[in-house]
Assembly symmetry: C2
Homo-oligomer: 1009 residues x 2
């Protein structure tokens, strides 16, 4: 293996170096010069490594997969009742140790060894018995054969052999994994001193069949199917004068009864018994053997070795790759938790070897081949065909294959949870957005239209789109445009809906043109820079709007900050019907209307300056409620009329409480408490739980907080309009032509909004199997535009954050992973069922008014705030902004910081922030109409960055634009390698964070103005 790859010479050399060098120079100084030369310039190959290479060369890497090894270390202890074997550690990938007095397993950790014990182990392999491909049906026979086939110089007396055999056949005491419940039960049963019931009496014979405890062992779940066992037995035996050691590989996996903790066929055995030695000497050699056996490369050697020398050579290769930690800088008793990302064994043998030394501190090994492969695969969908609708046809062809599985793959319990989660996000989205639109268009589009439109458009899109994981929604930029369009229509006396219909039709037309010309291939120019600018803008709008909404509550329900307890008698409010003429004296104060949606605005006189009760009110009218009073043409008079006690402050408590509970519950997944299943459920349903809890508190206390208004009848919110908009009639005929101008702007907007999201969703790191469909998606959006324009429903595009939440809730991860190993991300459950279910439920929600109307608005605002903050936290821009505030020495060890000078990183961040500020200003001023063009300008700015930053820096901070990437690739391969590294680091972070929260919390698009 090591020899058949180019550059393995170097590797072999290294191995030779580590093995042959240390000793010889001391005995033969004159030979050392040669050895010295070896170590710096490559020369001849040393015999041991050559052999290791030869052993592995017999087959290509990856052709044969060997069973996973479960390795158990049994150690001999002397108890009052005699000698006893006890399990003291086990390995699959990482080490787990039985704690000294703990009767418990340690957390899995990286097996750190003293260098010394590895050298001792090598001696054992060199001098002891090595039996490869032994044929034996049971443990007794194995022992007998091992004892009889010893090398001559180490041969034992027959009576010693018998004693050894008897000793080895004793039943070991295992340490089964117990659940918390079992532990607590035991606690209850044996509260007094005295040990847990012993597994078996010391000295008992090994059972031939698996014990009950073995079968019941909970650890079994962790062992992948088909695994085999390796046993290591070490210990001090008084009657031995020289050590007995044996390494045995069985020809067939043999079930050895109760020898191992879990009932598995055994394959390898290593026995080391010897006379009294220093404390732990044998234990450490046993650990060294086990660690060696966990090594992927050595495992292959051990499987294939034909003689002792092959094993030794494999071990030399292992020694050669060791990382060492100096004494005095590292406490050897500290346990290193398993790293989240490891070099693959492939890498170690293929790519890692050529540059030999690259396992030095602080360098990242390159993996150019992999990066190239991934890049080629990922962007296949965006290759230009050069034919009209060529991309669309390819999309349809690609997706058609999967259409059946898009439904069958959705039949999984995980999808149920995803549906619930996304449904709630979609509904809150529809509600808020509907409210905003109603506000902006005088209820031409309201909450009911929003519900119906979302349900219809989402359903159709999920059924026919290229990427059915996308969730459609109204978005902030579109809302800005609708607001502008409505006021323009009013100013020029045009019929808004008819005007909008024509714009929609034109946009749909332009959209189809873009599909036909394969314009979607331009999304390759959307790099991280563009994506982050867009995402940050949306997140900020989110945070800003939820806070603004909360502050506006203080206007709706004003607090009397000057309230004085002592003046309680001076606060009152009565209805005055006697002098309606007062209503023209000005000084009007809008009175709180429950939410301003559809409610009529009322005004009262602020008469707080008048002394209360100065004029005798008609006593009969005092009993009228506010509504009755106003209905009868009266007005409210008094110092307390304009104030509403408690509601605002209670709303703020609900708002803060909801935000905090969302945050805490979401983070609960990474806490240490409770089993992982419980935590996962709590974290997945964090937002629903937070909403429910807040609603419960609100309902229990009964204060009249502003509640969600849901339409209860199926008719347009504004009675002036119908369900179908007619293209002619209200406006002059030329409007249908003039509409092309705004339509171009909307097209840019929709294209940017839709495609940026599509790019993010189809990122490589999600390992999507069924491919993207950029052209098909755009076609769907365009055609839906026709329908929503004709029926006067809102326009829909892909919503970034909510779609990402959808994907995150559908992650597939490997279930059985060795202790300490992180579950592998296997991909996303790509299917259409969850989306369809979400939108069917959304449609049905029109009839759920009685339930939904109990949700207080501040709770929803709290959820929005959480979502905005979560989304903002998930982009790299935020990390880099944080770096601005951190002294260099406290900055985390990020890949791009290792490679790009800090001031370049800061400069990049500041430019991004300036762009963001510009976008914010634009969307807030009258220039908002050219906002879509500005989004497009981001791509141009990114292009301009190449004049300021080197391609090397950009490849770390951003990704490269297609033409520069090609240029670079022609030159050197370094960038690709580095980029792949950066992605790997990204993957690590993903893996680390995926447990915590969706990369971006679900999005609800709130007003942009």
């Amino acid at each position: 293996m090591r020899a058949h790859v180019p550059g393995a010479q170097g590797a072999a050399l290294q191995a030779a170096d580590a093995s042959s060098q240390p000793g010889p120079e001391e005995s033969k100084p004159e030979a050392a010069c040669h050895a010295f030369g070896c170590s710096i310039f490559p020369s001849s190959m040393a015999p041991a490594a050559e052999r290791a290479g030869a052993t592995l060369q017999r087959e290509e890497w990856g052709d044969i997969t060997y069973p996973v090894l479960f390795i158990q270390l049994n150690q001999l202890f002397s108890t009052p009742a005699g000698l006893e074997w006890r399990e003291t550690a086990r390995w699959i990938k990482f080490e787990e140790k039985v704690e000294d007095g703990g009767e418990r397993w340690s957390a899995p950790h990286v097996p750190a060894l003293p260098l010394h014990s590895l050298f001792q182990l090598r001696t054992c392999l060199q001098k002891g018995t090595v039996l490869l491909d032994l044929d034996a049906p049971n443990f007794k026979e194995i022992i007998d054969k091992a004892l009889s086939r010893q090398p001559e110089e180490a041969e034992l007396q027959p009576e010693l052999r018998e004693r050894l055999a008897a000793l080895l056949l004793c039943q070991p005491r295992h340490q089964p994994t117990k659940s918390l419940l079992q532990l607590l039960v035991e606690l209850g049963l044996s509260p007094c001193r005295g040990k847990a019931k012993s597994w078996s009496e010391p000295g008992a014979q090994l059972s031939k069949t698996p014990l009950k405890e073995q079968l019941r062992n909970r650890f079994k779940k962790k062992v992948p199917p088909g695994a085999e066992a390796a046993h290591i037995a070490v210990g001090e035996v008084e009657f031995l004068e020289k050590p007995f050691t044996a390494f045995i590989r069985l020809r067939q996996g043999v079930a050895l009864g109760s020898l191992s903790e879990v009932a598995l066929p055994s394959r390898f055995l290593f026995i080391l018994l010897g006379p009294r030695a220093k404390a732990k000497a044998y234990h450490e050699v046993g650990r060294a053997m086990a660690t060696l056996l966990t090594d992927e490369v050595f495992q292959r050697v051990a499987w294939q070795a034909e003689q002792r020398e092959d094993l030794i050579a494999g071990m030399e290769a292992f020694l050669d790759e060791l990382t060492v930690l100096p004494p005095g800088k590292w406490d050897p008793s500290a346990r290193i938790p398993p790293p989240s990302c490891l070099p693959s064994p492939h890498r170690r043998t293929t790519v890692h070897q050529p540059d030999g030394q690259s396992h030095g501190n602080g360098d990242i090994a390159a993996a150019g081949d992999r990066a190239g492969q991934r890049r080629a695969h990922s962007r296949e969908e965006l290759e230009r065909t050069g034919r009209l609708f060529g991309g669309l046809l390819q999309d349809i062809r690609r997706k058609a294959r999967w259409y059946g599985s898009d439904f069958s793959d959705g039949l999984h319990p995980q999808c149920l949870s995803a549906v619930l989660y996304i449904y709630l996000a979609t509904v809150t989205n529809a509600i808020t957005f509907g409210g905003m639109l109603g506000d902006a268009t005088a209820n031409m589009q309201g909450v009911l239209e929003s519900f119906l439109g979302t349900a219809f458009a989402g359903f159709v899109f999920c059924l026919f789109s290229g990427q059915p994981l996308t969730i459609l929604s109204s978005t902030g930029p579109v809302l800005v445009f609708e607001r502008l369009l409505f006021s323009f229509s009013q100013d020029y006396g045009l019929d808004y809906l008819e005007f909008r219909l024509w714009i929609g039709l034109w946009v749909a037309f332009f959209g189809v043109v873009l599909v036909a010309t394969e314009a979607s291939h331009l999304v390759r120019y959307f790099t991280r820079f563009t994506e982050e600018g867009f995402c940050a803008l949306i997140s900020l709008i989110f945070i800003y709007d939820s806070l603004k909404k909360m502050l506006s509550l203080a206007d709706t329900f004003p607090i009397n900050w000057q309230y004085r307890l002592d003046n309680v008698t001076s606060y009152s409010c009565i209805c005055n019907l006697s002098s309606p003429g007062h209503s023209s004296t000005g000084n009007d104060t809008p009175l709180p209307s429950a939410l301003g949606l559809g409610g009529s605005r009322v005004s009262v006189h602020n008469l707080s300056l008048l002394p209360p009760l100065s004029s005798q009110p008609p006593a009969a009218l005092a009993m009228l409620s506010r509504t009755q009073c106003l209905d009868q043409g009266g007005y409210l008079l008094g110092t307390s009329c304009q104030y509403v006690p408690d509601v605002t402050l209670f709303s703020f408590l609900l708002f803060g409480g909801t935000f905090l509970s969302c945050t805490v519950l979401k983070r609960f997944r990474s806490s240490r408490y409770f089993p992982v299943g419980v935590r996962k459920v709590v974290s997945d349903f964090a937002i629903i739980l937070a909403i429910l809890a807040s609603c419960a508190v609100d309902a229990a206390l009964g204060l009249e907080t502003p509640k969600l208004l849901v339409p209860s009848e199926l008719k347009p919110t504004n009675p002036a309009r119908g369900w179908i908009i007619f293209p002619f009639g209200a406006n002059p005929w030329w409007v249908c032509l003039v509409s092309t101008v705004p339509a171009v702007l909307v097209t840019i907007l929709i294209f940017m909004d839709q495609q940026i999201t599509a790019v993010i969703l189809n990122r490589r790191e999600y390992k999507l199997q069924k491919g993207a469909g950029f052209h098909l998606d755009l076609l769907c959006v365009s055609l839906l535009m026709v329908v929503t324009s004709v029926t006067g429903l809102p326009w829909y595009v892909s919503a970034t954050v909510i779609s990402l939440a959808h994907m995150e809730s559908l992650r597939k991860e490997s279930t059985t992973s060795a202790p300490g190993e992180h579950p592998k991300f296997l991909g996303i459950r790509e299917q259409r069922l969850t989306g369809l279910a979400v939108f069917v439920l959304t449609g049905v929600s029109v009839f759920m008014a009685p339930v939904l109307k109990h949700i207080p608005m501040p709770v929803l605002y709290g959820v929005f705030l959480y979502m905005g903050v979560a989304a903002l936290n998930s982009i790299q821009l935020t990390d880099r902004v944080r770096l601005l505030l951190m002294p260099a020495k406290h900055q985390p060890d990020l890949a791009y910081l290792r490679h790009v000078p800090l001031r370049r990183v800061h400069l990049f961040t500041i430019i991004q922030l300036l762009c963001l500020a510009l976008l914010w200003v634009l969307k807030s001023t009258v220039a908002a109409i050219i906002f879509p063009v500005m989004l497009l300008a981001l791509v141009g700015i990114r292009k301009g960055l190449e004049r300021i930053f080197s391609l090397h820096d950009l490849s770390w901070l951003d990704s490269l634009l297609p033409e520069t990437a090609r240029k670079e690739a022609d030159g050197k391969q370094s960038r690709e390698q580095e980029e792949s590294n950066s992605e790997e680091v990204g993957d690590v972070l993903d893996a680390a964070f995926s447990g915590l929260m969706p990369r971006r919390g679900p999005e609800i698009n709130v007003s942009v103005n």
Copy 2:
């Protein structure tokens, strides 16, 4: 060194093992059996290690301290302008690396090396030039001598020598440490692509005097005074055909101009130049050399070596102690952050060696000698002398020596911050406790008495006590007793203050008796079990009471949850003077009085059931305010009279806000943002900042929240009493005798309360230099009891939490520590000035009413909640309670979990929780009077635990009682070793947490009932 300690044979053997073993067996298989034997049973000593031992044997460890070494690695790079030396890494203790493209320093990390490079380095030392004690005045001469004294076989041609010398004399480009500011300035100056201004042109000659940049380097602060430099220069040189290597030790430290980053005298040089080799080969050898030089043990060898073989032997010893990480389980590019706790070099050479293998994974090295030493030192104050007042005299003698320095040591800026912090805690304490006492004793002792008493008792105690860092305060248990005493006095018609005077006198008498009989030596029986029970109780009282106080606000300022916006006209409240007879109809509702302290209670009729305004109110009376109305004998009538809008909810917002800000600001210290100085200030003043911020918000909004009431006149709160209590007159004469019974209970209470705190404060981990004074402290408390009883002020004992906060705010830490090294805890600033200042300020605060009255009570409750939570979080019991909820595999790697079975740990926790529950129930019921006895019973329960738990388990979970400890010590030494380990782990945690928060937040004792 290694040979002169007992057991060094083993160590030497190991060294021999690692060095001589690997090689020989391959060349001479017949010799291997011997080597194999060596590795398992100790036999002869190998020559290399013998030599290392001999080198170190010449002097005792610790007799000579060598200068700290600053090690710089310069590497040769080829730039377009020619070859250039660049600094690529530096070491003091840990490694810092110049990031690849980063122009920045990495965070300090453990230098992980490839094993390979260490073997290459050994070859370099074996074959290259080694010049020890070279005399040379400048770098040029050093180079010349090194080049001319090469070993024969490696000698270079003269022209090569010249080229090499010229190359070596080039000016290296250093990487100075820059502040964030400097970086941002540079960013502004050079925003375009192009590198930072180059340090010097490549090829420039080495300057003889230090450069400006060298002198300005901010890294200089990190290098301790007297440090010397070691230079390592490595690189590829095309014109060389074989490597040139030199290790040079100068006889004198010589300033070598601009060679190193900081201007230091140089001592060691290592040069490795050779022909082209594999990437990074030279770099890694250079790193290996640097890492070797950072090793404390090798440093001594390098200083003392007389010939090449000494160096090699030192290196063998280093190799022998290496920890190795297997490939495939650890990514070599990952950087390991410096551990917070390291085995000391002493340990490595003395204790660590005898058991040879104990640097295995998962074991903790023993250090029995140290533990014994510390134990002996710490408890010296508690040895019985057997004479009357013997302990007291010893205390006075011990403390008298330090009395002068107790004042001079207080002159440090840190003390100022401590005074401010503790002053605020003390004042809040005095206020709350005063309020509670006033409540419990009908203002016989009120806020003013609390202020005066605290100031007086604290001042006197700080002036004369044995442990002046203690802060006196009223405590919860004493409050319970006062409450009981007052109701008893009222029930039996006794004069409370006179009765109390007699009890106080008796307590003082018993206290003196306890001092005389040296009863304080009993505190040795107060183990963690007792301390934690007591601490947890106090913390819980804290949390419970702050929440209870907040909820009671809702009663004081009731919220109208049924308020309906529409019925605004139906809420009113008027003054009714016409029918005062109504006041006897019952249904009285206490109206909010600003805080109930001294304010008179008023009641109104709850007439919400009557229709409002049903009877015509006298119009003239409507203008009366609530107070005026009640003063004139009227009552309030109306639906809104009993409700207060907004105040309660706003109070909850303030409460939550204060708690959260305290938590966040306190944690800010461990955040990554801003320089450490800023963070430290913010964290130290977290509570003050939180209070100020909340007060500002409160003041800005202007709502009438309940504010702190501070006495403004210097007279007793209750006018019925004077400043001196007379012993006879009000009560029968026999009361003075009967008082002995309650006095015994109070004595137990005071003794427990005082001494538990004293034990905690005088813990070994605080490294107090001036010793404790248990007897003297008790005497002071007893005598103060006399004064406070006579003047009718509250009784005072040591307050645990606030005293700990005091100590934490006076921590001394080493300032210059090598990068990556944690600052060393040097001890506490033991002095009397801070305490005195705190209590003088407390006394003066009586006149600060105008300022303090702006503090809202909810803010103070928020602070109390924070303090309770912080205190509860700081005890091990809380950690163990958390373990109950954690699945075993997620539990942190705690020392006691490694050694005690989990179910025993859980059992111990549950017993502690039961005791705590029992204490809580006792203090809440009528049995509260025997509460002090129950505290004492904790000691008995602890004794009983020995029947359930083994001494081994107890030594991990608790500490041992004196007699069992002695018994154990006679038997085996294992426990002491283990205990010392557990303490070390404790120290680690301390070190880790000390930055975060005081181990226990300052305490304010709140009501116990």
